[in-house]
Amino acid sequence: MSWAQIAIDGLALGAAYALVALGFVLILNAAGAVNFAQGDLVMAGGFFAVVLAGLLPLEGIAVPGLALAPLVVLAGGASGWLVAEVAYRPLRRRPAETVFISTIAVGIVLQHGANGIFGAAERRTPPLVAGDALHVGGVNVTLQSLSIIATAAIVIVLLRQLLERTQLGRRLRAAAEDPEMARALGIPVRRLTALAFALGAGLAALAGLLLANVYFVTPTAGLAFMLKAYIAVTIGGWGSLRGAVAGALLVALFEVIAGRLFSATVADALLYVALLLALLFRPQGLFGEAVGRRA
């Protein structure tokens, strides 16, 4: 097991986590609350892909994940919009913790809905691009790893362009930063908040499509993804998009290394211990928050 292998595996996993964490932060900033259903939206993305792959039978040819990706993202986006309208909008004037609980409820509904429909068995999505793994100097690089990294990189760049270069992105950020002021300026805050939920859930669904090929998908898989994204955002700086990507890469690298040294379960346990230690010494999060002193 070489360091190159660990790097490539960690990068692939981190790229997928980054998509989940970015979606988490987009919704966090728009709603001012944790979206606890983010992991279950990843799981839902995996199942969307499983269902769509079954619905599009090209005679004798397996449908590549690449063809499914736009549909899965659309389905995820629609779920996100639904979550915004059902579980966020009626509660937007109540304490943030209320939204936290309503998204826990959404997560339960998604998880046990999937369990009711599909049962507890593992499912697998088709690879993004079918093909054999490459062997470069003893390092085993699967096409799926490469395509996860490439997809995430493209999506992250596009998202950055959207948020920083377009009018829509600027309005999105304005609506998240100060909804009252944005409303006063004529920005349609309601639609933009729903859009943020749709984007966040779309990213989660895409990650679900990518991950379910490597790790399979079960109805109970959501909690682990949610925890990884939550921890990534805590490490990277609460509310920061850049930090979410960095945090996701760190979490994934930690997971791959500790997983190789011990086992996947021990890696999880060590990650939680690391998180608790980090919060013990930095109760305000590793990189702090942009919240001033207020009485």
């Binding site: 609980i101 959404v106 997560g107 509904v109 939680y272 002193r293």
Partner: protein
């Protein structure tokens, strides 16, 4: 029904509902299966009662309640199996273990902001689950532990069937009594204030960290008790008891039943344990339906089933006309109270106080003092730092430079609640009251918090019969006296939510005064009052000052403030630009420029 009884009934939970359900089900439970099901509902009821302490009353979203339940189950099972302990020993030991874990974890996570607190408690829960699954030699790993003995008390085993059910519900009933005594007490009222108005809670001497810790410990003890009863009822335990699904179930029970109504814990547990049985086809979709129910409850009935019934019940009670409670005679000590300070000695003083927010120097070099019996007026344009000054004095901000002296000692590094207990009270601009407590109880909370640390619950308080709460009775008497002294006794029975702006002002003032503070800080107490109300307030403040209380009064209304103040300090852009008698300050050209921008007179009747 007399006024006093009527007040006492506010907040009473409709416990007859779950009691009737339990008795009905126990009578109807013919088979062993139904009896066992009812017992399991009792185990969850205890866990939910505990969860109400941390999640309901204090409002902290802990995701570790399922873990405490599973810990109680595993600990009690292991002590029975490996050490051969009977239930009489294993049960308290399991609770003690959960308390130890909660104390350690609480020390780390309770100071975190809510979104980190939820994550950290979830991480602890997952960690515990991993330890149990991986430590196969001790816990049996994924297979769990079979053949856990039943309820053995010394040499006697509680017979299976309905005696076990009755045994479990006996513990649930005891837990309910405890929960009722906690929630319908000053401790419970203080927790409500802490949840809805944390700053006001600190200003009345409530120690937030201590309260959160005690609520977390209570939740852990109740959770472990429920888990221990659960494992001896079922006879087996597996890692499923530590899965997130248990936490989810407890959360659903709590929110659907009612997160703040004691009866809600029992109703939620009974309902969610029995629903899958009543609808057999439903089994596979049970948790799906609970998730939907949780969402529905959060949106449409945030008080849950029992909470909604409680509110309706209260409304119905209040529809009946009742006399306002009579004010008892003021205590004699009041009249005999001597002024412990000489005229020239300040009770509250600042030295070169400064604070900056980011790059904005909000206050710089502010030095002022107030003597007992004096009213110090603080004026200044908007944004000049008046409220910042009050927040520094009461301890919500830490100054970057300078010192604050109170009652002869340096309190600069003391927390707000410590300063409040030392005798420094304050009011808030928006009238920070608890909506669902009466005016009387809103005041009584403060009487208790400062006096003799009486808020710390004692064993004797916890196991008394409901209604026998001497502490609360004394605090209410003091509160009524404080309200009556302001001529506001008629407000006593009104819930906080129904008070007008002016009435809130009186209640807040009474709350600030009830613990007999040495100094009070008032933030725009006259804002929004009519002229007649202002006159009454002025008279009341003069009388308070005459009793030897120092008053720091921030207000915009010059005609209100200047005739009242002994001395006035004017702030502008965070600095003191003038200080002296009202007439001197009003005549100061700098003050006029800063305050009005013109040479217009500040007031017509200076010195009135």
């Amino acid at each position: 029904m007399s006024g006093r009884e009527r007040i006492a009934s506010v907040g009473a939970s409709p416990l007859w509902i779950p009691a009737a359900i339990v008795i009905g089900l126990l009578a109807a439970a013919a088979g062993a299966y139904e009896q066992r099901l009812l017992a399991i509902a009792g185990c969850y009821a205890l866990a939910v009662l505990g969860y109400q302490f941390i999640f309901g009353r204090v409002g902290a979203l802990s995701l570790a309640q399922g873990a405490f339940f599973g810990l109680g189950a595993y600990a009690s099972a292991l002590m029975s199996l490996t050490l051969g302990w009977d239930f009489a020993r294993a049960f308290p030991a399991a609770i003690a273990l959960a308390l130890i874990l909660a104390a350690i974890v609480g020390g780390i996570v309770l100071r975190l902001a809510s979104h980190y607190f939820a994550l950290a408690t979830l991480a602890v829960a997952e960690l515990l689950r991993i330890v149990v699954v991986e430590w196969v030699s001790l816990t049996g790993g994924g297979n769990g532990l079979p053949n856990v003995p039943g309820f053995v008390l010394f040499d006697w085993t509680v017979p299976r069937g309905w005696p076990v059910t009755a045994f479990v519900w006996g513990w649930a009933a005891l837990g309910t009594l405890l929960a009722v005594n906690f929630s319908a007490s000053l401790y419970g009222d203080g927790a409500r204030l802490l949840r809805t108005e944390p700053l006001a809670a600190a200003a009345t001497g409530i120690d937030q960290a201590g309260r959160r810790m005690s609520a977390f410990l209570l939740s852990a003890a109740f959770g472990a008790a429920g888990g221990a009863l659960y494992v001896h009822t079922l006879g087996v335990v597996s890692p499923e008891a530590l899965q997130f699904d248990v936490m989810v179930l407890i959360l659903c029970m709590t929110v659907i039943g009612g997160r703040n109504a004691v009866a809600g814990a029992l109703v939620g547990a009974l309902l969610l344990v029995h629903l899958p049985e009543w609808f057999r086809a439903f089994e596979r979709w049970a948790l799906f339906a609970y998730g939907a129910g949780l969402l529905l409850a959060v949106i449409a009935a945030p008080e849950g089933i029992a909470g909604t019934i409680e509110t309706q019940w209260r409304r119905w009670l209040r529809a009946a006309p009742a006399a306002a409670p009579r004010a008892p005679a003021p205590p004699k000590a009041e009249a005999a109270r001597a002024l412990p300070y000489t005229e020239d000695r300040a009770i509250l003083a600042t030295q070169a106080l400064g604070i900056a927010f980011g790059g904005n120097q909000a206050l710089a070099g502010v030095t002022l003092f107030v003597r007992p019996g004096e009213i110090l007026g603080v004026i200044g344009p908007n944004g000049s730092g008046k409220t910042t000054l009050l927040n520094l004095l009461s301890g919500f901000y830490r100054p970057d430079s300078g010192r604050i002296l109170f009652d002869g000692r340096d309190v600069t590094s003391l927390a707000a609640w410590q300063r409040a207990r030392a005798g420094l009270a304050r009011s808030f601009q928006h009238g920070a009251l608890v909506a669902d407590l009466t005016a009387l109880d809103n005041v009584a909370v403060a009487a208790n918090a400062i006096a003799a640390h009486a808020c710390r619950p004692r064993v004797a308080d916890v196991f008394r019969l409901p209604g026998r709460d001497g502490k609360r009775r004394r605090a209410r008497a003091a509160a009524l006296t404080a309200l009556a002294a302001l001529g506001a006794a008629k407000l006593a029975a009104k819930p906080g939510a129904e008070l007008s702006a002016a009435e809130r002002r009186w209640v807040e003032l009474a709350r600030a005064l009830v613990a007999e503070p040495k100094a009070i800080l008032l933030d725009e107490p006259a804002a929004g009052l009519s002229d007649a109300e202002k006159a009454a307030l002025r008279a009341a403040l003069r009388e308070i000052a005459a009793r030897g209380v120092a008053i720091v009064l921030v207000d915009h209304g010059m005609p209100f403030l200047l005739p009242l103040a002994s001395r006035v300090v004017c702030l502008d852009a965070g600095r003191v630009i003038a200080a002296g008698t009202p007439a001197e300050v009003a005549a100061d050209p700098g003050v006029r420029r800063a305050y009005l921008g013109t040479g217009a007179p500040l007031m017509k009747e200076v010195g009135a």
